[in-house]
Symmetry: C2
Subunit: 191 residues, 2 copies
DNA sequence: TGATAAAACAACATCGTGTCCATTATAATT
DNA sequence: AATTATAATGGACACGATGTTGTTTTATCA
């Protein structure tokens, strides 16, 4: 156990700082949040903060790092093969986001961090495109790249809206819809 | 002429401040830009800055406002009817972005402003969805909303990449590709 | 050219910042 | 339980950006 070597006080300090920053991000953008007020909310001395993080942005990126890493691990554990259907992969991603909806909702919101969105897109790109896109050859190399990002960006934004709407559909429903939109576009929704 | 009533000095001050902020945004994110350095670059007194804008973010939003307003006007002038093909509307939007590629590239980049992206998406949403989506009835109200945002977000992101790549395709090519992706998805690109 | 208004200049208090160090409190170890 | 180690606190500090104010200089407009 590597984790057990970390002092309990350190664990608590980092945890409460992360929680407090997320609370503040739920109310206002990062650029209006000061280290001072963050520490006041967390009831942590400002000196202590600086012994862990260089500033608000550093703390935010650490929070994101944690989620991204955790998500990667989770997806890795499914050990998806090239042949497996892309729909399964999309489902796994949606389910992970659902399981971490609070954090994801905040980080993807108006007050969130665009770079988190980008990192998430990179993961989605890797995990879905490898399986679905490469199955068939595409006409144009550059166009393929554009098409791939179109799908990923659209998907992520749909999930952002979904989180904002309190997850009014099941993860399975969302995954199926996204899969349809990616592969067949709006045509698949026309009556 | 309403514009001619504005003092030349005021015009110059605002112009040079806008230009300077864009230059800085081309190099680093807004949260690392100070009013002090912005004024130094623009060679404008800090007091003068404050008589026009409350802070960097205010100035940035004014810049965005200008582009958004201008874009709306441009699109309005085409007076697109409900029946007109969505492809035409997409072309107009792509062409506008191409004509203002420098500003749009910066504002949509890593150092740009997410809210500009959102405003752009609102416009694209209004101008394309009204024409294309409503032509056919959709199955589910909520799903229609999701599908619409999927298309818009994907499209904007593709255009972001396109700008970043130095516009290696023609606006017409991009518009056609986007139109295909929206309506037929990846299926339309498979060999 | 004279009236008007904007920009520049200088000075100011304020606030958050980042970094000290000494002290206190708490966890880990024996 | 006592000891050791180390994390957190509290206070102080200089520093720089901020936002404001009043005065002077400069440019514009009519």
């Amino acid at each position: 156990m590597v984790n057990s070597k970390v002092d309990r006080r350190v664990k608590y300090t980092r945890m409460v700082l992360k929680e407090s920053l997320m609370k503040l991000l739920n109310e206002k953008p990062i650029n209006t949040i000061t280290v001072k007020e963050l520490c006041a909310l967390a009831d942590v001395n400002r000196s202590t903060f600086y012994s862990h993080y260089s500033d608000q942005y550093d703390l935010l990126s650490k929070i994101e790092e944690e989620i991204i890493h955790d998500m990667n691990d989770t997806l890795m554990s499914y050990n998806v093969t090239q042949n497996e259907d892309a729909l399964v992969m999309i489902e796994k991603i949606v389910e992970y986001i659902a399981a971490n909806s609070d954090s994801c909702r905040i980080l993807l919101s108006e007050n969130g961090d665009p770079s988190f969105r980008n990192r998430l897109m990179m993961i989605a790109h890797d995990y879905t495109m490898k399986t679905s896109m490469n199955q068939n050859m595409m006409i144009d190399e550059e166009m393929t790249e554009y098409a791939s990002w179109f799908a990923v960006s659209g998907s992520i934004h749909v999930l952002e809206s979904w989180l904002k709407n309190g997850m009014n559909k099941s993860p399975k429903q969302m995954a199926e819809m996204i899969n349809h939109l990616i592969n067949k576009g709006l045509a698949s929704f026309k009556a």
